[in-house]
Symmetry: C2
Subunit: 233 residues, 2 copies
Amino acid sequence: MPNITKLSKNIITEINKLYLAKYRKEKGTFIALGSHLYKEAKLAGVLVTAYATIDTVDATYISEEDMKKIAKTDTPCQVLSICKAVDKHELSNKVLLLDAIQDPGNMGTLMRTAKAFGFDTIVLGNGCVDIYNDKVVRASQGAIFKLNYIHMPIKEFISQNNNYQIYGTSVNNGVTPNLVQFVPPLGLILGNEGNGINPEILALTKQNLYIPMTNTESLNVSVAGAILMYLMQ
Amino acid sequence: MPNITKLSKNIITEINKLYLAKYRKEKGTFIALGSHLYKEAKLAGVLVTAYATIDTVDATYISEEDMKKIAKTDTPCQVLSICKAVDKHELSNKVLLLDAIQDPGNMGTLMRTAKAFGFDTIVLGNGCVDIYNDKVVRASQGAIFKLNYIHMPIKEFISQNNNYQIYGTSVNNGVTPNLVQFVPPLGLILGNEGNGINPEILALTKQNLYIPMTNTESLNVSVAGAILMYLMQ
């Protein structure tokens, strides 16, 4: 095993700053926890540096005690990667448009599902959680490194891309998705966990979709999004 | 506004014990955080007692300081409910069978989706997270109060209910769900986040399903479960 490197206070402070969006933006880097994401970051060519408590190529070998000071997780973490934020801005023919998605777990899960179903570009509208939040990164399971991101108000995206069929989601006033033939280029809008899609945005869609349910319940936004992206594939 | 009641150390300790499965089982009660779950608990008739920092019927009015000592959340909580665990064991004609689902968020989201799509009974196989974990309860958004639970190894459930068509999920070896006509009584098995379904269980299914994806990615288990429950509705 390699020798253990003791982390300086300064480095510990610098790494911990990356849990705050402000510093991530300033530095252009973000934290990814766990060995799976370490491998994905390497594969994507965005690994800046890594710290590990197990023997890991290109990583500084540190103690579990030091790892606890830099890895914010409930479960023990073996590898912490610092990754370069490389925003790719290409526009795929299926686009996921997010209006104020605030829960990091939902954001990350939506990114993972989007990648699986070919929604390779995500438009991040107003009020969305920072995609480089460590909880988003973890829930994305590596999809974070493979998607294109466009930071733009959704209304603006719609007006600039009028060749895209834009579908909204609505609990009250929508058609069931099995009645619709989906032909790309298309976009699917998902809205805030508590309030749904901003009505001003909803008014600009081609059609609004509703997922029929046996019982009158609501669905988690990452679940509703997954069902619709599966059907639009 | 009512007068503020100061919580005794003893009460604070007793409430905090309910974050541990062992004590929940002993007491037969569990914690639900937030006003939405407070309303759902009342509606379900399982509210034992509640503590609130806002004026709330049937709740003890407490300070925000005391609330912080009993409500384990990242975001401020206004109402904490203590609920009675009433296990209902009825068997619905669509059943969700869970094999070692360990993430509380996944468990709660699966419960919420199950209720929405008429999977009113959940079979909790070996290795599942406790359904009365506060994070499960929160993610379930009230579905926790409305479902039936059967704690039983999945292999046993299958052998005792051979009139049910049981479907597994497999990444390697499955049919796409749109080729299958689903007729209840039926059951859907979902497996552990890391390892999938135990092969011994998978060998007992009628058919194993695979969700086709544009890109070779994996899906979060609560996402995969949601797509399949939607299609089996």
